[in-house]
């Protein structure tokens, strides 16, 4: 069991580090200088002009949404880091601990919120670019599988809660 935990910990570290490096690389490739251009425009812009209809505002929204997508990807990676905490608890022999139940719920929450928010942000991005957004096509995308995965973690949390009660009852049966 301990060997399996070690293998799982190594795999989780590999997944975490790859996800972080991919995210950092994407952020590096993203042109943040556009924000500076926007700031310059904001300073020089005519205050009487309609803000929302201007091209710069649309561009600003695009970059804000992109930043939001980066943020949620960061959150997802943070969610992955809970796997390490769960594995550490298992390694210590605390299988059905309160901490594990809490971590499962947190992972479930992060997975579901990530999918919902990324869907919303992609919709907004499509609206800004005036491209078509097909909700069902988006639902077919790989990342939406995180919703059932999130639900599975909530179910696991409930099972672990019941298991913890049973374990306690068993320990108090003399």
């Amino acid at each position: 069991m301990k060997d399996n935990t070690k293998i799982l910990t190594i795999i989780t570290y590999v997944v975490l580090l790859s996800s972080v490096s991919i995210l950092l690389n994407d952020m590096r490739e993203f042109d943040f200088n556009q924000f500076k251009e926007f700031q310059n425009w904001a300073k020089a812009a005519n205050k009487n002009d309609s803000w929302f209809t201007s091209k710069n505002a649309i561009q600003w929204s695009y970059y804000t949404i992109s930043a939001g997508l980066f943020f949620w990807r960061g959150c997802l990676i943070y969610g992955f880091s809970y796997f390490l905490s769960i594995l550490k608890e298992i390694e210590n022999g605390n299988y059905f601990s309160d901490k594990n139940i809490k971590y499962f719920k947190k992972i479930g929450n992060i997975f579901i919120w990530y999918t919902v928010n990324v869907l919303i942000l992609r919709f907004l991005l499509a609206a800004i670019n005036k491209s078509s957004f097909n909700f069902f096509n988006e639902l077919k995308a790989e990342f939406t599988f995180l919703i059932p995965a999130g639900l599975a973690f909530f179910i696991l949390a409930e099972i672990f809660k019941r298991a913890k009660d049973t374990e306690e009852e068993n320990e108090l049966t003399i």
Binding site: E168, E169, L172, T173, I174
Partner: protein, 59 residues
């Protein structure tokens, strides 16, 4: 019952093969359940009936 038989808790725990900590849980009433095998061992060690060691107390 232990006092009647002039027996110490640790001795009883050793006879019925449970830890003194578990016997303490039993004595304090914190236990959620008692196995028939444990009850049988206690009755055998103390030479008594289950009714002699069990008592119903309303909450």
């Amino acid at each position: 019952m232990l006092a009647k038989r002039k027996m110490r808790s640790n001795e009883l725990a050793e006879i019925i093969d449970i830890t003194p900590a578990n016997l303490s849980i039993l004595k304090s009433g914190k236990a959620k359940a008692v196995r028939f095998s444990t009850l049988e061992a206690i009755c055998k060690a103390l030479d008594c009936q289950p009714a002699d060691i069990l008592e119903y107390v309303e909450d």
